[in-house]
Symmetry: none
Subunit: 543 residues, 2 copies
Amino acid sequence: MTAPSDASPSANPDNLAVQPIAIYDTTLRDGSQGEGVSFSLQDKLNIAARLAEIGIEFVEGGYPLSNEKDVAFFEQVRKLDMGKTKVCAFGMTRRRSMKAEDDPGMKALVAAQTPCCTMVGKTWDYHVTEVLRATLDENLDMIGESTAFLAKHSEVLYDAEHFFDGYRANPEYALKTLQAAASGGAKWMVLCDTNGGTLPEQITEITLAAQAALQDHDVQFGIHCHNDSELAVANSLAAVDAGATQVQGTINGIGERCGNVDLIAIIANLSLKKPNYEVLGGRSLKSLTELSRFVYETANLQWRGNQPFVGQSAFAHKGGMHVHAINKAASTYEHIDPALVGNERRILVSELSGRSNIEAVAGKHNLADDKELMGKILAEVVRLENQGYQFESATASFDLLIKRVSGKFTPHFETIKYRIVAGDRDVQSGVAFAEAIIKLKVGDTLWFDAAEGHGPVNALDAGLRKALTGAYPQLSEISLIDYKVRVVDSGCGTAASIRVNIESTDGKESWGTIGVSDNIIEASWKALVDSVEYKLHQEAKPA
Amino acid sequence: MTAPSDASPSANPDNLAVQPIAIYDTTLRDGSQGEGVSFSLQDKLNIAARLAEIGIEFVEGGYPLSNEKDVAFFEQVRKLDMGKTKVCAFGMTRRRSMKAEDDPGMKALVAAQTPCCTMVGKTWDYHVTEVLRATLDENLDMIGESTAFLAKHSEVLYDAEHFFDGYRANPEYALKTLQAAASGGAKWMVLCDTNGGTLPEQITEITLAAQAALQDHDVQFGIHCHNDSELAVANSLAAVDAGATQVQGTINGIGERCGNVDLIAIIANLSLKKPNYEVLGGRSLKSLTELSRFVYETANLQWRGNQPFVGQSAFAHKGGMHVHAINKAASTYEHIDPALVGNERRILVSELSGRSNIEAVAGKHNLADDKELMGKILAEVVRLENQGYQFESATASFDLLIKRVSGKFTPHFETIKYRIVAGDRDVQSGVAFAEAIIKLKVGDTLWFDAAEGHGPVNALDAGLRKALTGAYPQLSEISLIDYKVRVVDSGCGTAASIRVNIESTDGKESWGTIGVSDNIIEASWKALVDSVEYKLHQEAKPA
């Protein structure tokens, strides 16, 4: 990754020839509204750290009024190094008949102790009277007083819900809601196409009108689009061309209904196709593909193969042309060089994928110049990917793969046998039982042990570490923090391949491992063994 | 479906206040270039018939020079009633040193006997000299002579490959290629963004320039976009606003790399949001959702849940609001009425939102007026959702839930015990073993059986049906077609709750069931039991 430039996006943009556009990520809040998306606390912290790493300016962490997990997130994210990234807490305007300082939502925002608060308010007159059941003036008071209260504690971003629909219904009132927020001290006016139904030409016209109406206020504008008309990217770019200097969205466009705008496409289009703008402080976009896949894996969602810029198929060419011709002219069949976003060209008839992953990791192992070894590693990756392995979020397993292929792997134990017995609930205890029996060999010593668990995998995990702690007491520090299962080819019912991803921690760092098998027990065992071996190899390293 | 209006899109459009926009589908040709897409001959005929049924003006069937399947398609499609839909055969300009009438590609186009031919030619000077290895003048001759030859046999559409990139590289030459095709007698100039890298403002500018350069020719303009920048829909709409009267694309946007433009979004946006245009002769769009799913199923592709307009999540709302408010104000959270495109609103989980699901299903059970029963069902849904159940795709389990709560459920068997034993690979067989032992009671009879499987769930499935077939022989017809596992709260490692979804079939219909537990074996068992009970209850129904 290149070093961030000094051109901070919020620093006096008018003096710069190139306009910085701030990126605001709401994967952790609006993204989690997507069907099937649910993040654990650790998931949220992991994603926040990645977003800070690539230089995203604003990361919205959650809605502290809504649940305990989000409250805990704001406590724990303060311990992370977020660099220049500002963490935002999300909330709504105060309730109708309550002072701002007494409102539980306002208090929750302040308690989150974030440098920024993002507060949503109503723009559309119909929503004010019918959903909020307030008068139009009451709503203006709610916006103004809530903003003024929050502005004493942090930078305030005002999200104008249904701004474009509201403007079309009642332009005068819609603009008054922005003026109320600006007068209250909000620094950012974020225009939201909440229902995702607006067309680009309407975005342009209304964004210009909003700026004209607020010209006496010291505010900047943002845009927040949803993809219900498959126009979210074009709409966001239209708003930027009309003067917005912040784009809100989510990684991979996850979110309610058809999703939010995909920040991957926004970042890539603004950075690579619009020379008059700058994003992420001019940083390289080489980690975009990895970031996209990391978020999919963390959310336990399928990748979208044809996703622009970062999809597996985004630069995949079906055969028919001679390989030499493809190599000669490939750039003329691609709108950008895939390496710019960390993706790669794939020629579908052959199995060349994976090499850039390997090269990326190879630097760490000082293997880059060993062409023969690189070839062997590539062959092993191809073999395993054909079985259903994916190493993007299983970097510890990938690390062990490189050690194995290069002859630097020394197993710390040998599996003699493992067995699990599980079944229906015990009448007396009410617990569905699961027991694991484990037999291992460390050096010349046999270790035999058994453990119970909530299910077979939990029992295996407990049994493996119990059997090994005689030889390696330090393993008692390890615990599992995440466990994910995916059926790789779900067309064959329960006989399909099963991919298990495990995330482990020793309290200081965490690492991901993977196992694949047609048997979930075996797949889990492989991932558990890699987790333990990774930890033991890390400790065996010379300091 | 409403009857087609008399306003045929190609009939004298200039006299109409509302501009008809012709839809040109290339799912069967460009769509089949998508990764993982392969259509059989029958698939292609089925899709062509559906496209004609909804009133799409042009259906490109294939590339007759490239393979026998496409030749057979053009023979057989002539036997279908395609209504006013014109079938198009696709090909390229003649070879460099060959007369048009002798060129195999030209001959194949004529032999296809279609009312229209679509011929692609080179626009970009670099491609002419480097890929085609022809002089710029030779290429103009190839375009002109090929068009003139084809125009004697059919209506000719000229696809200008890389038009936007070519125009930016050498505008004068790019326009000459169009003039050559128009002089040869092509009726349509289709401007292609082959690499998908063009921005909407560039599309507008270049489309206007192309029309200005061709003003002395009697031609209409079309647009053909790819989605590499996630702008294909916006780009196609920009071209229409700039004067194009035909949009080329594919159903669901399937196609090479990031796909072609999704015609679903084009049709819906033009029809529902742009009152100055008309598509499909003004027909209803109520079959769009069904068409989308039909094409996914035929191509054996996963549906895209968040696809605009037709995705399963496109009108799915996550809870949090009072049911009354949702029902009252749902239209204000939706950009269009989902029924317009044949889709439906879905209210997802959360304590209060389950009621509308229940009400939707309740009609079937004649429960709508029984407020007390409705309350009990709601309470049970809330209790189970808190455990991690999701009934969206487990409608068979939901059906059984209603039966259970309303006292209409009679179990067909009682589980006495089930147990699985699984472990490492057998040294001799190389198979990771899994065995299930099952004990059930049907009436007063005990059934005890065991089965092996690829993993514990596969073994349980086999064992359950084996143990029951003595009492219920019809269960031998059932098989599992899908099996999904998700960790509901993945923050607690392997002790987290596990949700198992199963899809079963008897060869005629399929149904979904669900089980949740902290033990994957128990969760799977619950889903398997529901699958079998659902089938037996269906059969027990009075005719």
